[in-house]
C-alpha cells in the first residue's frame, strides 16, 4: 500500500486529506495523470511531489510502504 497526502487546494478539491493506493509501485507521472482524470482536478499537474518527505521527480517510483505528498505551489512566510 502507498499512502498519498493532499494539502491546501488539493485537499479541498479532492475532498480528502489522504488516499490509499493498492499498488506495489507507481511512477509519479503515472499517478499524476491518474489523479487528474479520476478527480478532474487539473492542479495535480502543477504540483511538486515528495516521497517520504523528500522532493522527488516525475520519473521517480514510489513503492509499497512509501508516503507520497502532493505539494501545491507553496505560500508560507
Amino acid at each position: 500500500m502507498i499512502k498519498v497526502l493532499l494539502f491546501a487546494t488539493l485537499q479541498e478539491k479532492v475532498g480528502a486529506s489522504e488516499l490509499s493506493l493498492e499498488e506495489n509501485a507507481i511512477k509519479i507521472s503515472d499517478l499524476k495523470n491518474r489523479l487528474i482524470e479520476e478527480y478532474d482536478v487539473q492542479e495535480f499537474s502543477n504540483c511538486l511531489v515528495a516521497i517520504n518527505e523528500e522532493y522527488a521527480g516525475d520519473n521517480d517510483i514510489a513503492e509499497s510502504g512509501d508516503t507520497i505528498a502532493f505539494i501545491p505551489p507553496v505560500s508560507g512566510g
Binding site: F7, P72, S75, G77
Partner: protein, 155 residues
C-alpha cells in the same frame, strides 16, 4: 527547544532570538512576517495556514544548513505558525546571528525568500467576498530553479 519548527500557538519572538545568541556574534537580524490587512484594494479578514508539518520542519532545517554553509559562524532559528491567524498576528519569525552585521541582514533575507520557495506551507486568504489558497493562482510556479526570486512580494 527546536531551532526549526511549525507551531499552532502564537510565536514567542524572544524564544526564537534566544536560540541564536552567541558570544561570537555581534549582530542578530530577525524577520517577522505579520498578517497585513490591505493588499492593493483587497481587505483581508484573516488567514489560514496549512503545512505538511514534518517535511516543512525538515525544509526549514535545510535552509538553516544552507545559511551556515554560505555564512560561516552564523546561527539560525526559524518558527512558522499555522492555523487561523488574525490581522497583525505573527506568521513567521526568522533569527540569524553572525559576527558582523552585513551577513546577518543577507542571511535573514535569504531565509524568507527560500521559505517562499521550498517549504510546504500554504496560506489561504479570507476576504469579505471570498477565499483562496495563495500560490494556486500562479501557473507553472517554478520552485527549484536555484535562486530565490527577490522581486516576489507575496508576503
Amino acid at each position: 527547544m527546536k531551532e526549526f519548527k511549525i507551531v499552532k500557538e502564537p510565536i514567542e519572538i524572544q524564544h526564537v532570538i534566544d536560540q541564536v545568541v552567541d558570544p561570537n556574534c555581534g549582530a542578530i537580524s530577525t524577520f517577522i512576517g505579520t498578517v497585513r490587512e490591505m493588499t492593493k484594494e483587497k481587505k483581508t479578514l484573516y488567514l489560514e495556514y496549512d503545512a505538511y508539518v514534518p517535511m516543512a520542519e525538515k525544509e526549514l532545517k535545510r535552509i538553516g544548513d544552507e545559511i551556515k554553509e554560505k555564512w560561516p559562524d552564523s546561527k539560525v532559528a526559524i518558527t512558522h505558525r499555522i492555523g487561523r491567524l488574525e490581522i497583525t498576528d505573527v506568521a513567521v519569525v526568522i533569527a540569524v546571528s553572525t559576527p558582523h552585521r552585513a551577513a546577518a541582514f543577507e542571511a535573514s533575507r535569504y531565509a524568507i525568500e527560500r521559505i517562499k520557495e521550498i517549504v510546504p506551507i500554504w496560506k489561504k486568504e479570507h476576504w469579505e467576498n471570498g477565499e483562496m489558497w495563495i500560490g494556486d493562482q500562479l501557473e507553472q510556479h517554478s520552485y527549484r530553479d536555484g535562486k530565490p526570486k527577490m522581486e516576489d512580494e507575496n508576503d
